[in-house]
């Protein structure tokens, strides 16, 4: 399985900030639960990579950016996961249909 078949997620965080850490944990758990082995999570630290942050026109971190024609974003520590699950499900099925 090559990366092209995987859902690419980007999580913008700030260093080891407490909510950033929580966000990473929550997103990864979510992905592992919903699509183990079928996703790629890129964690971008705005402190070390500010350019990417600006180009994505972020408002706040942590922010999870989902791929798509109109990328979906979620802000926070990802502990309220209902909408994210919904969006990921949509992505997963879309992905499967595409593949």
């Amino acid at each position: 399985m090559h990366d092209g078949a995987k859902v690419a997620l980007t999580l913008f965080v700030r260093g080891t900030g407490a909510r950033s850490v929580r966000a990473i944990v929550n997103v990864r758990s979510l992905c592992e639960r919903l699509m183990p082995g079928a996703y790629r999570l890129d964690v971008v630290d705005i402190a070390t990579d500010p350019v990417q942050a600006r180009s994505n026109q972020l408002l706040a971190v942590p922010t999870l950016v989902l791929p798509g024609g109109e990328p979906r974003r979620f802000v926070g520590d990802m502990s309220k996961d209902d909408r994210i699950v919904e969006a990921l499900d949509a992505l997963r099925t879309g992905c499967a249909t595409d593949g």
């Binding site: 965080v13 700030r14 260093g15 080891t16 900030g17 407490a18 909510r19 950033s20 850490v21 929580r22 966000a23 990473i24 944990v25 929550n26 997103v27 990864r28 758990s29 592992e32 964690v43 630290d45 705005i46 402190a47 500010p50 942050a53 600006r54 972020l58 408002l59 706040a60 971190v61 942590p62 109109e70 979906r72 974003r73 979620f74 802000v75 926070g76 520590d77 502990s79 909408r83």
Partner: protein, 689 residues
């Protein structure tokens, strides 16, 4: 045309509306997140505003502390996911925080246990007490093996329910490697010490007790560890003869030297004496010696080997000194005789002197021949000419050869001939030589007029030849050594007969070449000696006893010659010649007469003491090797007897080593001349008086 445009506009509007809704949803989500404190920072343009939550200060403090820690800190949630790891954990497991968070523990490491029991114990401790601490192995995701000192604690939330697991792990690999290297090095050292048979000990001086290896106790003869061992215990094992030296060593080490190196003898519980070697260091506390640690080794084998070497070396020295003495002894009468011949024209004196020279020369030749024979046998260069011979022939031939010596000392030889011929395979010449040597030896060590018995018989498939004398005998301790080349039993000064073991060493070698054996037996010193030669017989044959008595064959000593020519010296001295060797004494006395001095002869030490008192000599020429009272003792007695008399005491001896000269001086002898005497030297010495 308007409709499609309218439709397009509518579509665009719908799309824009949807995008806007998403933006709004984003904004709402951001606001919600902000309100519920889920945001770390807000980005406005290029600026980043970090939000300070109520718990941020505490969080930062906590995270700073954790970040600074050398130990890896990992928090797992109840499902085993990594929810926190500090910088040390990132380094230790080689996984960045962003990669590890949310993943199971195995993304960082998998614990491995030495045994299932260890794992079970750790689980049990965590379940029972919520805490476990111990050493285990963390296998990293990339397969590295870390030895860690690990403490696992249950984390509980505000309500007391289980919230996760805190793992603090210190990488022990480096230290563990060092420890294991140390253990290996220690094991190697132990092996080395053990193979070198070196024991270790560490002595506490205050309690006089020690920690030691079993090898230490083995050095003192214990195969099981001794319950308690201290300085006092050690000293009680030291050989009494070494104790003072050992105590001095210990005291010096404790006093100022701080180290100790010594060799001493110890007595084992079984009574055996062993040599040990000790090297130790003293440890002080505030200048006061507190403990002493070191090693100990049993060096008996080396010591005994050294002793054997020294003994062999000593025997070689003695042998060479004896050889020089032996060679000089016949030279004295030869030298004297030549001096006589130079000074006198008397045919009678010449004849007598020549006879003396010939006799001594023959003796010298035999001595050298014996030496060469021994050397030839040692080098394996001698071969036997074997033939079927009768033992009676050997006896007769040996008697013929030994007769002159037997007669000279007026010994009586009793021969018990075999009852019937005993034939065996042997080299007639060599066996005669061997038996002659035994007879010569018996004659030598038996005082004049002694009795020597010679017999031959058949015993248990061997022909046995016995030579028994009633002479000086041999101390039982020395019986085994008399056949050794370099041994001359006890460097007795009183064996005027010389004797250096060449004869008997040759006997042993010759007999052994025949496949036989030779032994000496003696009831002790002064109680005679029996030498037994056993030679293998090829077959059995009956024998008939036949005893033949050899009549004593005394031979009168040649009468002292009347000096034909007398030289008148500046002063006619009275000279007492002390020498048990008749040839030497007679020729020297004759030489003195020729020099114009008066002389008389003493044959032994006691006679010398008597004559010193009655003859009142000006000069005493004292042979040192005398039977009974030796030259030293005689000199001391003479000095004590007539202390006022101005008598010149001159030692006359074959012993020319520095120690011999020193002994002469101590015995009160004025001069020490080595045989053979240079007549010119003697003459000038006498003239100087």
């Amino acid at each position: 045309m308007a409709e499609p445009r309218h439709d397009e506009a509518l579509l665009r509007l719908a799309e824009e509306n949807a995008a806007l809704r998403l933006r709004i949803a984003d904004a709402e989500d951001t606001l919600r997140a902000l309100r519920s404190g889920e945001v770390d920072a807000i980005l406005v343009g290029e600026d980043v505003y970090v939000l300070e939550g109520a718990d941020t200060a505490a969080n930062r403090f906590r995270s700073d502390v954790l970040a600074q820690m050398e130990d890896a800190v990992i928090v797992l949630d109840t499902e085993g996911h990594v929810v926190y790891l500090n910088a040390a954990a990132e380094r230790q497991y080689g996984v960045p925080s962003a990669e590890a968070l949310g993943r199971p523990r195995s993304a960082l490491f998998t614990p491995e246990w030495d045994s299932d029991a260890d794992e079970q114990a750790a689980r049990q401790a965590l379940a029972d007490e919520g805490f476990w601490r111990g050493r285990c192995i963390h296998r990293t995701a990339t397969g590295r093996r870390l030895i860690v000192e690990c403490s696992n604690s249950h984390l509980r939330d505000a309500h007391g329910s289980l919230a996760g697991l805190l793992v603090v792990a210190r990488d022990f690999s480096v230290q563990a490697a060092a420890e294991s290297a140390l253990a290996a090095s220690r094991a190697r050292l132990q092996f080395a010490l053990e193979s070198a048979r070196i024991g270790e000990w560490d002595l506490d001086l205050e309690s006089d007790s020690s920690v030691r290896t079993l090898r230490h106790d083995l050095c003192f003869g214990y195969t099981r560890p001794v319950p308690r061992w201290g300085l006092a215990t050690f000293k009680s094992h030291v050989h009494p003869a070494d104790l003072m030296r050992v105590e001095q060593n210990v005291n010096e080490a404790l006093g100022w030297r701080d180290e100790m190196h010594l060799e001493c003898r110890v007595i084992w519980p079984d009574g055996n004496v062993h040599w040990i070697e000790i090297h130790a260091t003293v440890f002080r506390h505030g200048g006061k010696p507190r403990s002493m640690a070191g090693i100990v080794a049993d060096i008996s084998e080396r010591k005994f080997a050294e002793e054997a070497l020294r003994d062999a070396d000593r025997r070689k020295d003695v042998f060479l000194a004896t050889l020089a003495h032996e060679l000089r002894n016949p030279m004295a009468p030869i030298s004297n005789s030549l001096a006589i011949m130079r000074r006198s024209e008397s045919p009678a004196l010449h004849a007598q002197a020549m006879a003396s020279v010939e006799k001594q020369l023959a003796h010298l030749v035999r001595l050298v021949d014996d030496l060469l024979d021994v050397s030839r046998i040692s080098q394996g260069k001698m071969t036997l000419r074997l033939a079927r011979i009768d033992v009676a022939e050997v006896l007769q031939s040996a008697i013929d050869s030994a007769l002159p010596r037997l007669e000279q000392k007026q010994h009586r030889l009793e021969v018990q001939w075999p009852e019937s011929p005993i034939a065996f395979d042997g080299d007639m010449t060599r066996l005669t030589q061997a038996l002659t040597n035994v007879l010569d030896n018996a004659a030598k060590y038996t005082p004049e007029g002694g009795r020597i018995e010679l017999s031959a018989c058949r015993e248990f498939g061997e022909v046995v030849i016995r030579v028994r004398d009633d002479g000086s005998g041999i101390h039982p301790a020395h019986l085994g050594q008399v056949f050794e080349l370099f041994t001359q039993v006890g460097r007795a000064r009183d064996h005027s007969q010389g004797g250096m073991g060449i004869g008997l060493a040759l006997v042993k070698r010759l007999v052994e070449m025949h496949g036989g054996t030779v032994h000496a037996r003696s009831a002790g010193e002064g109680r005679g000696t029996t030498v037994v030669l056993r030679l293998p017989l090829p077959a059995t044959a009956p024998s008939v006893a036949q005893t033949q008595m050899m009549p004593p064959a005394p031979e009168a000593l040649p009468a002292a010659p009347t000096p034909a020519e007398l030289v008148t010296p500046s002063r006619r001295l009275r000279v007492l010649v002390v020498d048990d060797n008749a040839d030497s004494a007679d020729s020297l006395a004759m030489l003195l007469e020729l020099m114009g001095h008066a002389s008389t002869i003493a044959r032994d030490g006691e006679q010398a003491v008597d004559l010193a008192a009655s003859y009142l000599p000006d000069v005493i020429l004292m042979d040192i090797g005398l039977p009974g009272v030796d030259g030293y003792e005689a000199s001391r007695r003479i000095r004590a007897q007539v202390p006022h008399r101005d008598v010149l005491l001159v030692a006359l001896t074959g012993w020319g080593q520095a120690a011999d000269r020193e002994r002469s001086r101590q015995a009160g002898l004025d001069q020490h001349l080595v045989k053979p005497i240079d007549p010119e030297h003697l003459e000038s010495l006498l003239a100087s008086l």
